[in-house]
């Protein structure tokens, strides 16, 4: 059964990434993050969920439910939006690890 899934697992893990959004100069103001899919590597194009952008929308989240809106240009969000994308290693990449705090998570004994 595992063999059946292996090729799909490899593609999924190589395409997977995590996207975080924060405000320039105010990292303590909050960090919004979600998952994403790497659509293209050259140039790098990533598709992720739009929920993390609502706090940055210049016109507020109501603009998302305006009739007929099916897309909004990138400058619909304020200039203080800072985005970062992180993805898994390829076998060859010798880069150092990044430590991040783990606010709000714990592993209670079941």
């Amino acid at each position: 059964m595992r063999r059946q899934w292996e090729p799909a697992m490899r593609v999924a893990e190589q395409a997977g990434c995590v996207v975080s959004a924060s405000r320039a100069g105010q990292p303590e103001a909050g960090l919004w993050s979600c998952s994403g899919v790497i659509l293209s590597r050259s140039p790098g194009l990533v598709l992720c969920h739009g929920g993390i952008f609502t706090p940055f929308l210049r016109a507020g989240s109501r603009v998302l439910t305006e009739a007929g809106a099916s897309f909004l240009p990138g400058d619909s969000c304020g200039d203080d939006l800072r985005l970062h994308v992180q993805w898994g290693p390829t076998a060859a990449s010798p880069l150092g690890r990044v430590e991040r705090g783990r606010p709000g998570l714990c592993t209670p004994q079941c």
């Binding site: 919004w32 952008f53 099916s70 992180q86 290693p89 076998a91």
Partner: protein, 456 residues
Amino acid sequence: AGLEPSPPARHRGPPLEPPHPAELLLLLSCPDFRAHFASLFGSEAAEQWRFASAAREEEVSEDEEEDQLRALSWFALLRVRHGLEEEADLRGPALAVVPLGTVPKGTPLLACGSPFGSFCPDIFLNTLSRGVLSNTAGPLLLTDARCLPGTEGGGVFAVRPAGALVALVAAPLCWKAHEWVGLTLLCAAAPLLRAARDALRSLHPNTTSLAALLPPELGAPWALPLQDPGPLWAAAAVLVEYGTVWGSGVVVAPRLVVTCRHVAPREMARVLVRPTTPKSAKIWGHVVFATRETSPYDIAVVSLEKELEGVHMPVPTEHFHEGETVSVVGFGVFGQACGPSVTSGILSAVVQVDDTPVMLQTTCAVHGGSSGGPLFSTSSGDLLGIVASNTRDNNTGATYPHLNFSIPITVLQPALQRYSQTGDLGGLRELDHVAEPVRVVWRLQRPLAETPRSKL
């Protein structure tokens, strides 16, 4: 949380890439997804439904929850200036996208996302979850692959062709009337990428060229729209309506449907049966038998006023194999709004009394409305049982959709056959007189080792 480069080895394989800056090209939404979302979750059902929030440190206020509901059907296209290009040749073939409407229900799916988003990428980055395509309503898809907050935006991939992108996670956790549904809401990738192409072309001259770089949709034979939306055996599931009550049922003979007593409680009552195919068909029937309230077997049998055509009659099994992969097909959660949902799991327990199976337990996601629906062996397609109930903890009020109980078809088959062939209800009537140990099992009590002795 700050970034602290540090040397220790990563817990899962080679070290992570550091986060790379990116820019927002556009926010996009699939209007058809929103339309289906509104029709399935909007209007009167709205207050019953809640969806998980995107991963965030503080509690979510009502306003923010409203924000997130508005954003639920929105996605974002980003450009990453550096980092990905260097690896372009290291990573296998480019992504391909499965065309909309070509993945049948019950198809295995693989979800890949990062629970809690960027809080713990060392531990949670690109975590996998497996399930099946449970239901579809246009580009709005449902899977029983379990996902957590933070996996919004994660990819959902097909097993065949390996790693073709089917959808993105829109809402990982859904609650209906405070009951965790155990299904994940997805938006199909094909219409989303079409919307992205259109937007890139109309947005700005220098983004037009990017449209050509988005992954293509698979051509034939994958592009052939589905003839039959699901595995053959799934078509045996029917919707049963009795007044305002509805539930599921399964066709066991061209003019015979089995459902639960609590769906169609009264003998001679007239019920409406809606088969999965053809979609629009409605067939009246009447209840020829329903067990009494005192019977642990919650069963009713409906005789149809005319034959059901073109439906594959399920083969009743004679054996049960604990641990085997099973599927439940039922109208839970959405009922009449769209066809039956398929959820997958394993046969987690076969409870026996005197070496006879009297109860089946599975790990499939079973919700209100699935009662009376069929439990199938995924590999053989044989009918294993009739779903009767899931589990609620009376102390906490929590419902556990993934612990549910079915009546083994071996309990019913002889009596159904006798009625089918002779019209004799005798065998079915015996379901009202089952032995005490069986009643004890269905009362979820420990079967008595031996009858307690009087102290006198």
